[in-house]
Amino acid sequence: MLPFNFEYYKPQTIQDAFRQFYSFRKENKKTIYISGGTELITLGRLNQVYTDAVIDLKRIQEYSSTFFHKDYLVIGGGATLTTIEEVNAFPLLSKTVKEIADRTARNKITIAGNICGQIFYREAILPLLITECLLGIAGAEGIFHLPLQDIFNKEIQLREGEFIFSILIENKYIKLPYVSIKRRKQWDIGYPLVTVAAIKNNDEIRMAFSGVSPFPFRSEEMEKVLNDRALSLEDRVEKSLLSLPGPVLNDVEGSSGYRLFVLKNTMMDAIEELEGERNVK
């Protein structure tokens, strides 16, 4: 039960959504976009989310569809994680998102919601970071495209009123060797201690992480060391850890010391699988 009332608007077009957003803002109403709405419901009841107005994007045409267009796989921001998993157009993404939350929640959670949400794991972004995708951003002038890395710094930085309409992944990436490993505190349910998504592009490994810090990341410095074949596998991993972008999380899921232990093992597993030295599930 949400302890507050809010205005609810379900636009049919981007322009409509944008116009409505500004009309709410003009009345000084805190306004949020939703697509799956899971965070509004689950965090709202705990007073961790508050809003005066909600714009539900689900009915906007093509917002929820997934298709191939020229050199790109286009995934609508409103595609649910379940849809992504089942359509399986991009196996790395499918594998990564199907480990998020549980099936009932994934039926509602959308990819745009996951990567823009308040809960900081945002694991769906990992495959996007390593494939240097384009984001189709809906704004005042309609949709414009930006490379993800240009607007991503710990989180996606959109201007007020903008929302992610689509995600464009170059076809060349979706068939590359990949690995996606999620390690939890225990067994198959729960937030990650560490989630690693990686691909091998030619001979270069790219790797992105969630659960290590309170934000997902990909690090060029780390990748440089990871791809230094002059070093032993263990050294590549150990040395790359010196370039972690921030302190390692220490919380109810696990201590920072244990997280590092898990991170190191997971990275070794990922590299071994990509470099074909060993099969790791």
């Binding site: 039960m1 949400l2 302890p3 689950t42 009841r45 705990l46 007073n47 549980d102 390690r183 505190k185 225990q186 067994w187 198959d188 349910i189 729960g190 937030y191 150990e238 850890l241 010196l242 972690l244 390692v248 919380d251 109810v252 899921e253 696990g254 201590s255 010391g257 244990y258 590092l260 232990f261 898990v262 093992n265």
Partner: protein, 783 residues
């Protein structure tokens, strides 16, 4: 026999549950599904701190919200508590645990009530916390209850004023020094784990109203509707006849709904609004920390044995984490003393079982009532001892397994009715687990398969006068309505009762209508639906009521058929002359009075009843613990098989085993369901569930996002087998089995992983990080 009659017989059959259709269609009604016009809604404000003085409370902003009808708090209510009255139903001047109710807002809608709560301002002055039972015993520990001495309490409770000791129960059997002298090998081991939650699907909730004549009516999600009547008398002096409790289906209870908490608050809330019905339902977060929780424990066990593995003594200390208020924890720590050892013959036992106050959420019953907790301590130590003896751990258990002629820690002399056949259970477990292939099998350079096992037992420590009643009323079609005070908490007990009745009446079970709802005004009392005693106690009452019905039917038929009562039989919907079954009368023609062709009628509706009271139970001697605590002991041998990655300490449970002496399998699918469900809870308790506390005693994971019971898809293969050694006093010999599947899972998992890694694991839950740490991880952290 009578023509066209098929052979009946329901004992041992997997009869479909009487509540199946309602539940699978989603139509079954639970407490929160009942909504009467005019019902007001209460919402609790809960303490964000574990120990603090309440400096001030300001309700003024909350009162301004339209629709707020009453605000409770900041006033001295009568103290409550089942064994010691140590708790204010709504905190007054002081909070003692994170989640404690500090104020309650009653409003027209749940949303207004929540807004009201959000508008209350409270300022706290934090106090130092007791963050574990061991801390609670330290000399300089903060005192949680300064007025312990002045609290009203029940008989047989032994608090220690000016300490944090809420209760001490002692077991003194034989001579511990003698046992020590006779021992060649001694093993001592300590274990601990935090409190945790029950995580029933239905959160706890209640509706209370006070009628103009003073009658108090509850609709409550409870395992103890009849106990609420007694408690209202003890707490508020209200006569039991003035209290009516309605209990619909309960969506999982696991002991958490044996505590009485929200009922008291809802009653006070209703009183504050002139008796109007007030509904109070826990949010998930409140259900996890505000209401009673699963107890924590810190235990040390010392065992001595001869070289050939015969147990000579057990010296045991339990420090139960009772939390901030003693409530049921006192009794749980008593039950822990009663079965303080595993199911073994030990002549010399010394046990101190303490219930300690801490600044944790307060403990209530949890499926197994101290047994899985105590057995984790004892059965882990048994494996430590086996290692010291260089003996196979199941061999050690087999040698010492309890048997008829032995005595329990409270010195009850056992016979084959009072205790099941543990030797048989162990033998069967060894076969099922293929134990002889070895405990550890290497899979590759990293992975190993490992097995661990343990033995368990349990009796139920009920009030010595606990009773159960059944009423049977007949319908004009000859069918029977069965009314029992057992609450349908999901165990299917009422279906089993129908089976027992159908068997005894030799009738079609479809003609037995079971009343699922309990209404304490018209349903006969069943003490509490706890402790795996529904089938035994209510089953005995059913048999007695059936005999009463049969007697009445025969009396009536005798005069109609002109056959002596002695020569009549009841069955197949008829009362018939044993010598010439064609001389008979249909039960449907008797059940509402028999009408002769000329209109004369004899008798009216047949109403039969029966009760059963536990027999010859005694209180425990305060110095030695000697006494007869329960009717029988169910025994079992259990095991777990895992695949463990020795590099990173992750593991998957492949198989979980239980061989239980169930006495008699009455409904096979129901029994398997109970055992499997209990095993899955035990695995979650052993492998994942716990409250994570910060240094200030706050629970960091009071949400299902971070507090994770076992989910669908995480289950191992369950392998369950039954041994049948009848409990002669029970219907068809059936023993209690609702809890036993849980009891050994944490210990078996601990034994399994300890054997696999060569490290004696001593803390639950057995998460990989814990095992990593115990195996030396984190000692020379690099980065």
């Amino acid at each position: 026999m009578i023509k066209g009659v098929i052979k009946l017989g329901y004992i041992g059959k997997s009869v479909i549950r009487k509540d199946a259709f309602e539940k699978v269609t989603g139509e079954a009604k639970y407490t929160n599904d009942y909504q009467e016009m005019g019902t007001l809604h209460a919402k609790m404000m809960i303490s964000p701190l574990a120990h603090a003085n309440i400096v001030s409370m300001d309700f003024s902003e909350a009162w301004k919200i339209p629709g707020v009808k009453a605000i409770l708090g900041n006033e001295p209510y009568p103290l409550v508590g089942e064994e010691i009255k140590d708790r204010s139903p709504i905190a007054y001047k002081r909070v003692r645990y994170h989640g404690e109710p500090v104020a309650v807002v009653v409003a027209e809608t749940p949303m207004i009530a929540k807004r009201g709560v959000d508008a209350i301002k409270v300022s706290y002055e934090p106090l130092p916390v007791v963050n574990s039972p061991r801390d609670g015993l330290q000399k300089d520990a903060p005192l949680i209850h300064e007025n312990l001495e002045s609290y009203e309490k029940q008989e047989g409770v032994y608090p220690n004023p000016n300490t944090n000791i809420a209760n001490l129960n002692k077991i003194r059997k034989g001579n511990i020094e003698k046992g020590f002298m006779e021992s060649d090998v001694v093993a001592e081991f300590s274990v601990s784990f935090h409190p945790s939650d029950h995580a029933a699907m239905e959160t706890r909730g209640t509706i209370a109203e006070i009628r103009p004549d003073g009658t108090i009516i509850f609709t409550a999600s409870t395992q103890a509707p009849f106990a609420i009547k007694k408690i209202m008398k003890w707490y508020f002096g209200i006569e039991p006849g003035k209290v009516i409790v309605n209990t619909p289906f309960v969506g999982g209870a696991y002991g958490g709904k044996a505590s009485v908490q929200l009922e008291i608050i809802a009653y006070l809330a209703s009183k504050a609004v002139g008796g109007k019905p007030v509904k109070l339902v826990n949010t998930r977060e409140e259900d996890i920390i505000t209401s009673s929780v699963h107890i924590g424990l810190d235990a040390t066990v010392k065992l001595g044995a001869t070289k050939d593995g015969m147990l000579k003594f057990a010296e045991i200390q339990f420090l139960f984490d009772g939390g901030a208020y003693s409530d049921k924890a006192v009794d749980i720590s008593r039950a822990g003393a009663v079965d303080c050892t595993g199911p073994y013959q030990i002549d010399n036992i010394w046990c101190n079982s303490f219930c300690i106050y801490t600044n944790h959420p307060y403990a209530g019953a949890y499926r197994g009532y101290s047994h899985s907790e105590v057995l984790f301590a004892f059965e882990r130590t048994m494996d430590v001892l086996a290692e010291k003896l260089s003996m196979d751990p199941l061999e050690l258990r087999y040698k010492n397994a309890i048997r008829p002629g032995n005595t329990t820690p409270t010195q009850v002399l056992l016979n084959s009715s009072k205790v099941g056949n543990l030797h048989q259970c162990i033998k069967r477990l060894k076969v099922l687990m293929n134990w002889d292939e070895g405990q550890i099998i290497a899979m590759d350079d990293r992975k190993i398969r490992a097995k661990g096992a343990c033995c368990v037992w349990k009796t139920s420590t009920f009030d010595t006068d606990a009773s159960s009643g059944v009423i049977l009323t007949f319908n004009s079609d000859g069918s029977i309505n069965l009314m029992s005070g057992v609450v349908e908490i999901g165990t299917g007990t009422k279906t089993v009762l129908a089976q027992i009745l159908a068997e005894r009446m030799k009738m079609d079970i479809n003609n037995i209508h079971v009343k699922m709802l309990v209404d304490t005004q018209t349903t006969p009392e069943h003490w509490k639906t706890v402790g795996s005693r529904g089938t035994f106690m209510a089953g005995r009452a059913v048999l007695k009521a059936a005999d009463d019905a049969i007697r009445q039917l025969k009396d009536r038929a005798a005069c109609i058929l002109r056959v002596p009562v002695k020569d009549l039989e009841v069955g197949y919907g008829k009362v018939y002359f044993v010598d010439s079954p064609q001389i008979n009368v249909d039960i449907k023609d008797l059940a509402y009075g028999y009408k002769f062709p000329n209109g004369h009628t004899i008798g009216g509706q047949i109403i039969a009843s029966g009760t059963y009271t536990l027999t010859r139970l005694t209180y425990l001697d305060p110095e030695t613990g000697k006494g007869n605590p329960g009717p029988e002991w169910t025994v079992a041998a259990q095991g777990i098989e895992v695949e463990l990655d020795t590099r990173d300490y992750t593991y998957k449970i492949l198989k979980a085993y239980s061989v239980i002496d169930i006495g008699k399998v009455v409904n096979e699918k129901a029994a398997l369901g109970q055992v499997m469900g209990a095993m899955s809870m035990g695995i979650a308790f052993g492998g994942r569930e716990e409250f994570v506390f910060d240094e200030f005693g706050r629970v960091l994971n009071p949400q299902l996002r971070t507090y994770r019971p076992l989910r669908y898809g995480e289950h191992p293969e369950y392998i369950i087998d039954f041994v049948e050694t009848p409990h002669l006093a029970a219907p068809y010999g059936a023993r209690g089995v609702g809890e036993h599947g849980l009891l050994g899972m944490p210990a078996a998992l601990g034994n399994c992983l300890s054997a696999a890694l060569g490290v004696q694991l001593n803390h639950l839950p057995l998460i990989p990080e814990q095992i990593w740490r115990m195996s030396g991880g984190g000692k020379n952290a690099a980065v």
